[in-house]
Symmetry: C2
Subunit: 259 residues, 2 copies
């Protein structure tokens, strides 16, 4: 697996040194958030900061100072208006350390996605933790088999999430998210707010793999945006362009927050 | 989580630089082996090298040159006779890169271990991959609850492995390993060879959590050696010192291979 170019990587506001990175490279015990930055701003900044604080309290029993994270983000982004940013927290002794990695901006995939179902569930699924090996490897295996990504289902075929996105099924006038252990993505949360403001019903239900072809549109959400699903395994999935456009318009009504 | 001191960390025979470590710190897609080095030698060196090569072929489709790994191990250990060594492989483009981390030698835990059962199974369990977040976190949670480690069981209560060791049940004259998805540890493999040479029966069977109290001894194996189990959840586990001594004596008959 190759990485996109890494423009900057800082820890606690200073260029990351080998000694600090060795800890993170060898001890797979941290958490992070990923965001798209445009013009120095982020959608749902408060939610990203809340995610880091909440996860750190749960994993390590201590908070993460949100103003400190913002300061480190601003420092790493100095002079870079548009970027993909990962803010990752690891513990050195009892102290949370903030790693910020800055890469080129990343748009949502243009092509409707072809998914392969895989029986897997992320451990500690509600946390965006650094134990992503299985996600990366299921994605790599799906790609080798001619798909774009893997869709996780449990042993009964109930859908949860993809390796890097939430999945939603649009049925009638309702957006349905899986009632399953998933990471509640920031984009999912922001879209839900926009749906509520628009009076569009949204709810969580158990979704079986075979339900996906029964709605009018299936789409994915993550920090890059909203992407339709074209196929799941051998099954074509309906995709109504008007619904997809409505979802995107609603999500894009979310304001950009200056970091 | 704090690390023990890191004496050296090299990549491809050179001190690891920030740029290389950033890849490993951010992309959780690699595999490794851990070994105890004494006097510049390792038990089961060929098995460690085979593990790296086999895992790399499965994960990334390309081999790892065993002589190159040995050379990098020797380079990182130069002047250090006794150590804990982790050899980790990650891909940069199509090329496997060998990270060697050298820490102080680590003996097996002296105290009989108190385990807490947790319903979890490692993904891609036959591979010693870098996606260890759930293991580290289950161990941390077990420790906070007053145990030494977590013991993984499936939803039916069938035992697989701990976060860092194989588990075996000694019953009558037989060593029983779980017939479950586990990492087949090098120490487990070496002990099985010694058992076979000694004429001691060893086999794999499905082991339920409640079976553990029914034998005469339960013990753990990993690169630090063999350690008895004292309790699982609230249940005391029998531990016959003569059996444990026999297991250790058999394992310790394994020769040390110069790196």
């Amino acid at each position: 697996m190759s990485l996109p170019p890494l423009w900057r990587i800082e820890i606690d506001g200073r260029p990351a040194e080998a000694e600090d990175l060795a800890h993170t490279a060898l001890v797979n015990h941290g958490h992070f958030t990923s965001m798209q930055v445009r013009g120095g701003s982020v959608r749902g900044l408060a939610l990203h900061l809340e995610r880091l604080d909440t996860a750190n309290r749960e994993l390590f029993g201590v908070p993460v100072d949100r103003d400190r994270v913002r300061a480190h983000l601003r420092h790493a982004l100095d002079g870079i208006p548009d970027a993909t940013v990962r803010a990752q927290v690891f513990m050195a002794g009892d102290r949370p350390r903030i790693l910020v990695a800055v890469r080129p901006p990343q748009p949502a995939p243009e092509a409707p996605q072809r998914l392969r179902s895989v029986t897997y569930g992320r451990p500690f699924a509600h946390i965006k933790h650094t134990g992503t090996f299985a996600q990366l490897h299921h994605k790599a295996e799906a790609e080798r088999a001619g798909f774009d990504d893997a869709l996780f289902v449990d042993s009964a075929g109930m859908v949860s999430e993809t390796t890097i996105a939430n999945i939603a099924l649009h049925v009638g006038d309702t957006v349905v998210w899986p009632d399953a252990p998933v990471l509640e993505g920031i984009t999912m949360q922001l879209l839900n707010r926009a749906l509520a403001a628009n009076g569009t019903p949204a709810e969580r239900r158990r979704i079986h793999l075979t339900d996906l072809a029964s709605g009018d549109t299936v789409f994915l959400t993550n920090s890059t945006g909203i992407t339709p699903v074209a196929r799941v395994n051998g099954t074509p999935i309906p995709a109504r362009p008007d619904i997809l456009k409505e979802m995107r318009t609603l999500y894009e009504s979310t304001p950009w927050d200056p970091i």
